[in-house]
Amino acid sequence: MLGYVLRRFAIACLLMLFVSFVAYILLFAAGDPAVTIAGAEAKSDDIARVRELYGFDRPILIQYIDWLWGVLGGDLGTSLYFKRPVAGLLLERFAITAKLGALALTLALLVAIPLGVIAGRKPNTLIDRFALLLAVVGQAMPSFWFALLLMILFSVTFPILPASGLTSWRSYIMPVIVLGYFSTPAIMRLTRSGMISALEADYIRTARAMGLPERKVLFDYALRNAALPIVSLASAEFGFMLAGSIIVENVFAIHGAGSLAWESIARADLPTVQALVLCFSLFYVVFTMLADILNALLDPRMRAR
């Protein structure tokens, strides 16, 4: 078990290293960073001075290692726009986005899992068709349009919810719904197919033949077995959801990490963009790692390894 955890952790570190390299290369793909910082109209002397100041005249690899070193120490650079350390900025913004994400994931799980269990228990019935329809619609619905539709409905036609900002608990409702709907289809489908497979398993037949009550068979036996892949998917979906917050925060004018991402790209605030790519990826890598470890803990067959 410990071996597995260590290995998983090592893979996570390697992944972050790889992603961080990709994020860093972005800086150079944008063209000469010195020019970006100094401004398009700067004189060549100024540009040279900027280059020296920021150390852009050193080999790329050295710059990367330097930057990485800083990142590991908590220094994510300084925002070109806000003129303050990126780390602090990110902490503030991610607090908001993570909160939204957590609420959205909870909503998604609360809707998707029961629906998936019921649909899996009784495939091809009306409720199953309904659940699948919900999933198909959810997967086809562009989140920004869904957000705007909700806004038209609940802020314009029936003005009961605020359209922007995070002023009261009411302002959380629409963004959480939109963000949650993002992940509901996939989780529902996986729960459903997991339940169907689990219920076809021999040990379920044994449990039923032994006269165990159906509720016990469904939850303690079938769902418990189907849950393992659901945990993995939910963690990946959380990562995707956070990344998808760019759109939702834009529409609802919420000042989280997602809107910061878009603004920073528009403002060519490269250090912030780099740090954001890094952080979003970090969430995904960490959460999927935790999910894998949780699975290993829950599955006695894995613990032996």
Partner: protein
């Protein structure tokens, strides 16, 4: 005896319009998806014939004309006009070209990249497989929208840039599916036979593997096409996709956003078309999967 009993039971994941694995004609989602898609494709191809106006022609005195079913609307602008007086119906019709071409183009590019990676990973196994899977996981970790926005911001907002960016980012499902299928086929007799006969690796891949993978690839292609269409719309919505004044449906929604209070149709109409197209493509993909490759269901 269990086999008998199991062969008669319904399978795993299916689409809502489908009860059991069925043939072409009775597969509801396949037919529905195909018909809607066919209509949109026809709309795109015959755009110059169907559109009543030039989608770029502005007419400021006519701005914000409502669609025909609202008060103030008329039959000369069935879907109304936008903030620059451009006929919405014409823009919608031409917009279908953008969505479809991005969708198909992205599916082709990402399909090429992803399938190549997946087949190599599945065929060679070992180190190569580990490396490719590592790259796939890294790709999954990256926030796609953010990276796509950054790339478009860097290289400029244009149709080609969007296409290549999305194509270069949306290949992971191709890789995973082709890898899994290749691993299964790897041990098949006909592959071994070809190898024994001295076929080179590319030959084996081309003549033995790919024809058998084609079904799975087609299914993934439709689903990725739908994904690409949504993403292009999202990028254009955020202002870093296809550039104005091109009638991308996502861009139209963005432009309409400011008028949400009084002219909500500017938002609902392009979104409805996008939703219908993506839904149709997804239904087609699900239907194709039921018919062509039922074993690749979850």
């Amino acid at each position: 005896m269990t086999d008998l009993v199991n062969s008669v039971n319904p399978g795993s994941d299916t689409s809502p319009l489908e009860g059991r694995p069925a043939r072409w004609r009775s597969n509801g989602s396949l037919l529905l998806g195909l018909s809607i898609l066919a209509i949109v494709v026809a709309m795109a191809i015959f755009a110059p014939l169907l559109a009543p106006y030039d989608p770029y022609a502005q007419s400021l005195p006519n701005r914000f004309t409502p669609p025909v079913w609202l008060p103030g609307g008329g039959w000369d602008h069935i879907l109304g006009t936008d903030q620059l007086g451009r006929d919405y119906l014409s823009r919608i019709i031409y917009g279908s070209r953008i969505s479809l071409s991005i969708g198909i183009g992205t599916a082709l590019v990402s399909g090429l990249i992803g399938s190549t990676l997946g087949i190599c990973a599945g065929y060679f196994g070992g180190r190569i497989d580990s490396v490719i899977m590592f790259v796939v996981t890294a790709r999954l970790a990256l926030p796609v929208v953010l990276v796509a926005l950054a790339i478009v911001a860097i290289f400029g907002s244009s149709f080609t840039v969007v296409l290549l960016t999305l194509g270069g980012l949306l290949w992971e499902r191709f890789a995973l599916v082709t890898r899994a299928a290749t691993i299964q086929l790897r041990g098949a007799d006909f592959v071994t036979a070809a190898e024994i006969q001295g076929a080179t690796v590319p030959q084996v891949m081309l003549h033995q593997l790919i024809p058998n993978l084609a079904n799975a690839i087609v299914v993934v292609a439709t689903l990725e096409m739908a994904q690409a269409m949504i993403l292009e719309a999202a990028l254009s919505f955020l202002g870093l996709g296809v550039p104005a004044p091109m009638p991308s449906w996502g861009l139209m929604i963005a432009e309409g956003k400011a008028q949400i209070l009084f002219e909500p149709w500017l938002i609902t109409i392009p979104g409805a078309f996008l939703f219908a197209l993506v839904l149709a493509t997804n239904l087609l993909g699900d239907g194709l999967r039921d018919v062509l490759a039922p074993e690749s269901r979850n």
